[in-house]
């Protein structure tokens, strides 16, 4: 299925399955959600928490992109310029990027692909990310609700 364009539901089912079956599933949430800069962001934040519960996942925020000196604490946040440190430190084998500005998601996804064995999933409000292993585009609250319902179904099927 990888390297193919598939129906959104198919991609969402695969994403849920990977999150529910790999080690240390983690959701990386970016400033487009955690800064609560509009009503949709607030709604998305609540949905991300619900998504984390359904997927038995941790949440590690990508607070912003300003310099972190001398270094970030990988326990509490991820820096897009060295996402591999957070992924190595926490032994994360699958993750979802959501609410991260496209440029920073793309550079982080390239580094993760090159330097880790973490499976990456990008839920993008705009055009999607070719460097993620699974990506869905134009994701807004209604779409995330649909993903949560699909994840619940997959979880049941897996007996998790």
């Amino acid at each position: 299925m990888y390297n193919e364009i598939v129906d959104e539901e198919v991609a969402m089912r695969e994403a849920a399955k990977e999150m529910l079956t790999r080690e240390n599933p983690t959701i990386f949430v970016g400033p487009l959600i955690i800064y609560a800069w509009n009503e949709e962001a607030k709604e998305m934040a609540k949905l991300v928490r619900e998504m984390a519960e359904v997927l038995n996942a941790k949440i590690i925020p990508m607070v912003d992109y300003r310099p972190k000196y001398p270094k970030i604490n990988p326990e509490v946040e991820i820096n897009p310029n060295h996402p591999n440190l957070t992924i190595w430190h926490n032994n994360i084998k699958v993750c979802i990027f959501i609410g991260v500005h496209c440029h920073f998601a793309n550079i982080a996804l390239k580094i993760i692909r090159a330097e880790t064995d973490c499976l990456t999933i990008a839920m993008c409000a705009k055009m999607g990310h070719e460097d993620a292993m699974i990506t869905v585009r134009d994701q807004h609250p209604e779409d995330v609700k649909k993903f949560i319902e699909i994840a619940k179904q997959v979880k049941k099927e897996l007996g998790k």
């Binding site: 400033p31 912003d64 992109y65 300003r66 310099p67 972190k68 000196y69 001398p70 270094k71 820096n79 310029n81 060295h82 591999n84 440190l85 500005h101 496209c102 440029h103 920073f104 793309n106 550079i107 982080a108 390239k110 580094i111 090159a114 330097e115 705009k126 055009m127 999607g128 070719e130 460097d131």
Partner: protein, 339 residues
């Protein structure tokens, strides 16, 4: 006006229409004007927020005419920079602040400003530079030799090369549309050969002046807009990017690769708005083919006509987009030719 896909007016009071309507569907009238005047007419219809200028032959007139648009209320902010380096830095600031911006330069001005072009690209700024090419070397020349375009090839910007004033007019409008796509969002340089296009008059077809492109929406940017928390350039000065260690190398490579990937992602949009990255002219079965861009394509077209008089079948493949470069299209267009 029909179903143009948009409604409302921009800051200049022009009706906002879809890019497709403006470029392909709106009625057009024939005018007789120079390339510099065509720049003015394109900018007038582009909902431009700001422009910064600096004089250098042969682009001075185009810069001056954009200034007239400011007087007429079509451009929000207009001022003269201290030098080309100042101009290209100032337009970066305007773009980071969320403005649609255009500027113009030529030959040595491009070189004086050179440090800024990879900075624009690395900062993902959809600035448009109309480059009216001229010589950069000694002995001094003001004729176009396109050396400065070659120096720009690996700076991470899109480069389109117009053959004539009509193509320049359309490329300026399309340039904003493609450069501002979220998954592209890199600078666009619309180049022409100075004097040949800037100073000669030709017939071009232009849409009405009371319609314009939708304004730039900076919230569609792939990077955050500057504010009190994120000062200009601050997010690109992470010590883990700037230091010299293997993590820095990985980050640097990833960042620059992403800029190149963004140019690649412009292909489908550019193909749509430019009606292909190349144009073929002449006999499809020709055994002799000229590959050219800019006014060299016009000269090559004339050569094919002269060759035809001699019974030699030839054709021209005009390259409209140099970055992204149309590798596949060129291979396809030249596979039948032996020369």
């Amino acid at each position: 006006m029909g179903n143009n896909g948009f409604s409302g007016v921009n800051k200049s009071g022009q009706k906002i229409v879809s890019p497709d309507y403006l470029l392909f569907e709106a009625p057009r009238e024939k005018v007789f004007m120079t390339g510099s005047e065509a720049v003015k007419e394109a900018v007038k219809r582009a909902s431009v927020d700001a422009s910064v200028s600096y004089p250098i032959t042969p682009q001075s007139e185009a810069a001056h005419l954009i200034g007239e648009l400011w007087v007429e209320g079509y451009v929000g902010v207009y001022f003269r920079g201290e030098s080309e380096f100042g101009v290209m830095s100032e337009v970066a600031g305007c773009s980071m602040a969320g403005a649609r911006i255009i500027t113009t330069t030529s030959g040595p001005g491009t070189l004086r400003a050179m440090e800024n072009f990879p900075m624009w690209a690395g900062s993902r700024l959809p600035i448009q530079l109309v480059l009216m090419a001229r010589g950069v070397n000694s002995p001094l020349s003001i004729q176009p030799d396109n050396l400065e375009i070659s120096f720009l090839l690996d700076t991470g910007v899109m480069i389109w090369h117009a053959e004539n004033a009509q193509e320049l007019f359309d490329m300026i409008l399309a340039g904003f549309v493609v450069a501002e796509k979220t998954d592209v969002h890199v600078p666009i340089i619309t180049a022409i050969d100075g004097f040949f296009i800037s100073h000669t008059r030709e017939s071009i077809m232009i849409p009405p002046e009371d319609i314009a492109l939708p304004p730039y929406n900076p919230y569609m940017s792939p990077t955050p807009i500057i504010d009190a928390e994120i000062a200009p350039g601050r997010y690109i000065k992470d010590p883990f990017v700037m230091k010299s260690n293997y993590i820095s190398y990985a980050t640097h490579a990833s960042w620059q690769w992403e800029v190149r990937a963004a140019i690649e992602r412009s292909r489908p949009y550019a193909k749509h708005y430019l009606k292909g990255l190349i144009e073929e002219y002449g006999d499809p079965e020709a055994e002799l083919v000229f590959v050219a861009s800019g006014t060299a394509a016009s000269q090559a077209k004339e050569a094919t006509r002269m060759l035809l008089d001699e019974g030699i079948k030839a054709k021209v493949v005009k390259v409209k987009s140099i970055r992204p470069f149309p590798h596949q299209e060129l291979l396809e267009a030249t596979k039948m030719q032996s020369i």
